[in-house]
Symmetry: D2
Subunit: 341 residues, 4 copies
């Protein structure tokens, strides 16, 4: 189906697939000991100006979130998240499954506010009974957020400062990181991100890979025996090359950023298109996800013609829907969309 | 490196890769709702003469074992396994991580004996204090086993009978199932396997896929809300097509069985080779894994020339090592091995 | 210290202690097989007009909450609770420790509103992606609530109806149940409670026992192998008589209700006292907990003289504090309080 | 029933009960902040010549085992135990419920052998694939063991040395510790035990208390936020005084050791009695548990007359049974037993 439903409706970027084909018959050891894995990690560290960081490749986002949270905090600690955070809403309780409470704070356009976090922590530790409560052990943010919004450098710095003050790691879910870094409206550079976060990941699944998320740890943060933890969580891939080859390709000659840029350019054109056609926005963003407000009749007309995500009811007769571009979106796709709108 | 270390040292079978390339730009929904997933499940059911069974595709073996065990037994139940069973030894405690004890019984050539299981259960329930103990809730076997051995049809029937008597599902780990079914020395057919097991899986990772295990449930056995459970365990793949396309290719025109047969033929030739060259066997098997007994000097000479797995010390001066063939092993590989031996 | 800080500052009601003394040297089996345990369960069932219900005795509230929730819902399900619910705030994440998310809804005076629950469920199931979310599996309420408030019979009926409609058990945390049932302002009888709840517990720790909570299950609701589950959770008491003797005493000749009534009578007098002395209430309740609003100077003056719980800051210069009566509160205590106020 | 079935068939030692009665109406804070708790901890430290250790009071043995193991090792680590260890056999999988594998080694009269442990560890770390296995993180022993046997000082020293070498805590389950320390045939003093173990507990439930186990940690070993962990595991007692008062009484004027001695003296007399009457022993021990071999007809005759525990079938016509004395056993009990035998 012709679709803007999400950013994982096609396979891999052709160059990623090409790399899988070219390397296919080369014999290499399993479990992340292959040569592409090593090369991919080096290239990712270079791209984020983080030569001493540690990188580990995993398969998917929910898996990565639960694994990172569970391995970096103590069993009795919880993780602070915006109430709209993916871990709080759309991961089937994977974090709680590992025993940790998600401590949800109200979001601001999908973002967590440093002042809110600080106020929460102050109130928490001022309560004489806090040892009977879930100790906040980490801050989780997504960038871009579930609403396609982006933190500014100053916002990230403020969150990082609160985390440092309370000795908690700052964890950034970058399932769509490419689309954030390639945005025209961001002052967050890869290097700054690596400086401010204790751990973050570079999403592959939604940015040109068949699967894969590359986790980047500040030096000293990656837990001892991490491979064992990964295995224990059922997250280890026997043919680690599947991840190694893909990320090696994505981080060769800046491919990851280049294809992310395509999604941004297409999103810009798509926004213009909706605007020209008189559609109302629920939320316009600087990334690849745009939230449009459809009147019921509009929605009924469009639904059979083009794929989009139904987000939530806005009122009695309107619905918020999401149109997403990706590395794979082309001008032809937009032309076709224009006809339909 | 030139290697017989294991059966996952190369990428995917060329036809699997080809299918990924051909379908790459087709737009299909995520999370297992793609058309290849549906097609793959149909073909697998047909291959196992199990039209009413349910099939679900997962990524890797340890993940599958933990998820199936955790979702099919009650939280206070344990799983009976041979002490050499993969879940008991080589999965970093993934099953215990989900809260379940592995109830290990002594193996016989890697296999679990039905009489042992029955005796264990009788003793267990005869103990007046069994409510203070871990209730056996499932029987886990692997086929081929970790020693490359195979259950006979009669052995499987006996295990199935004990399981039925005690109302426990029989779960068969088929990470290398193809190499078992393609063996020249087995009376276990795909159809019989589907009849006797309550749940089993068809390994892809070690039999021609980049990743993937296809779980097959007897009608009525797949838990309600299985997709939610998969998600909660961090095992759901956003681009389900990665699994769907691969299994669809593997089960088109009998490819899975054909490439498994290659491993068996090559293993047969490899055994002959070792025998001709005067090597002693620790265990000769009818599948793709052969266990050779190397004297220390022999091992020191071979190690730099060819890859193999070190299994265990046999005595002061000998070591058991494993040589494995796979779908990818060729006559050229054996010729090269012959030179070295 | 002279104190109204909470309802567990003294030991047991004298008759409970007496029973422990009298039965001390009688030889009886452990783990709940003693004669007092059986007798206590019978008396509790009679007191709640629930002859076919099942009763099981546990030690403490947090333990009971986590155990009941974990054993009655599926591993991937969550539990709906008021955001002020004890399980959501003051149990150190014990529920999440067992893998379940607490699905918090806004409270109304500490209570969960049936209409809110219904709206939540409707929205949840209307979301096409709900299989990626935490399925609501149970409704948890406390009665009296953490704010000392009580559900009316109609409110309970409405919650029960929603639960039935969505096939979820209704679980009532009765850590202070006696103080609720003995209130002068309630239309909830013991019999009605047993009719409407699928499982509830009768708190002993805060109502005259040294420890102990009696869980009451609607017929058919107690999980199979419950004793094994209790043991696995570390909640089984070897000398089950400790719980059996206490509950047997509490439910002999209506002692439980009689001593609960004392707390209510004393709370009534205490409220009058505060009112006469000109104190402002944050929340006056019909149970044994009263929430008073103290100005900073007032609080500084009272703190060294009498024990109370600091609840939360009300504004810049005022604090909400709790004064609780119990089975042990006497007219002498109130006379002393009067002097201080 | 007249019974030697186990050591928890009666209530508390009269002095313990007396202390509960005397302190009953004194107002003290909950959750372990009462004055008896503090006093009990001081006295226990003194009794074990361990002034700088940390002590925490819990309710029961299975709870304590699971909590200590779970809080002292990393989530991916397992615990080494004799295969007959209580955690491996009789705790309904409570340790696995917290996610940890019990790594069972063959027992020697119920004991773990230091050489076995060392050999296990050497083999484990020699295996190139150990990151895929459960890392041993702790050694668990019980003293007396489940067979009533005792470690010698040298055996404990050897275990402690292996633990130090591999940087693992040594954890001693002292559910029946009193009966071990009071034995006439032991060179293990309280002080030595505190020196050699990283953590151990002093059992109350089976030695004169209604409930309670006192955990003693070597300085620096008690986890940060231990109270939160206790709460999260559902193991915190609101009226901590229940534990505080009991242990305070047990460690006043050496009561704990005095009443343990009674059990030992009575066991000695009981052994003599069985011997005089011509009974065969399966295992004679230096503690309060004796294992007698009964022929079927003998067992049928005795069963209605006196309580004992059925341990296991010895052969076709014989059964191993356990007779246990306790702090409560009297000469009258033995006289009655003599008549029956």
């Amino acid at each position: 189906m012709f679709s803007f439903e999400c950013d994982y409706l096609q396979g891999a970027h052709p160059k990623v697939l090409e790399a899988l084909c070219e390397t296919n018959r080369i014999t290499q050891p399993g479990y992340g000991a292959d040569m592409w894995w090593a090369s991919a990690c080096q290239k990712i560290k270079a791209a984020f100006s983080a030569p001493d960081h540690d990188v580990y490749l995993l398969t998917g986002g929910t898996q990565t979130n639960a694994l990172i949270i569970d391995s970096l905090i103590r069993p009795y600690e919880g993780v602070i998240s915006a109430d709209t955070g993916h871990i709080n809403v759309h991961e089937a309780g994977a974090v709680e499954h590992t025993g940790h409470k998600v401590l949800a704070l109200p979001h601001h356009d999908g973002k967590l506010d440093a002042a809110d976090v600080k106020a929460y922590l102050e109130t928490f530790y001022a309560d004489g009974t806090w040892t009977h409560m879930v100790k906040p052990g980490m801050v989780y943010i997504s960038h871009p957020t579930e609403y396609g919004t982006l933190y500014t450098a100053d916002e990230l710095k403020a969150l990082s400062a609160v985390c440092q003050e309370y000795d908690m790691p700052l964890f950034l879910d970058g399932a769509r990181l490419g689309y954030g870094l390639a945005s025209n409206d961001t002052d967050v550079t890869p290097a700054l991100l690596a400086q401010l976060c204790d751990v973050f990941y570079v999403g592959g699944t939604k940015v040109g890979a068949l699967c894969g998320e590359a986790v980047v740890f500040r030096p000293g943060v990656m837990p001892a025996q991490f491979a064992t933890i990964v295995k224990q969580h059922g997250a280890m891939v026997a043919k680690g090359r599947l991840l190694g080859v893909q990320f090696d390709a994505l981080f060769t000659d800046g491919l990851y950023f280049e294809i992310s840029k395509n999604a941004i350019d297409m999103a810009q054109k798509m926004k213009d298109l909706f605007r020209r056609k008189g559609y109302a926005f629920f939320k316009e963003t600087a990334t690849n996800q745009q939230f449009v407000l459809l009147e019921d009749a509009q929605m009924a007309r469009l639904a059979p013609l083009v794929g989009f995500s139904v987000w939530e009811k806005a009122d009695e007769s309107h619905t918020v829907v999401r149109f997403a571009t990706s590395w794979a979106t082309s001008d032809e796709d937009l032309a076709k969309l224009e006809e339909i709108l």
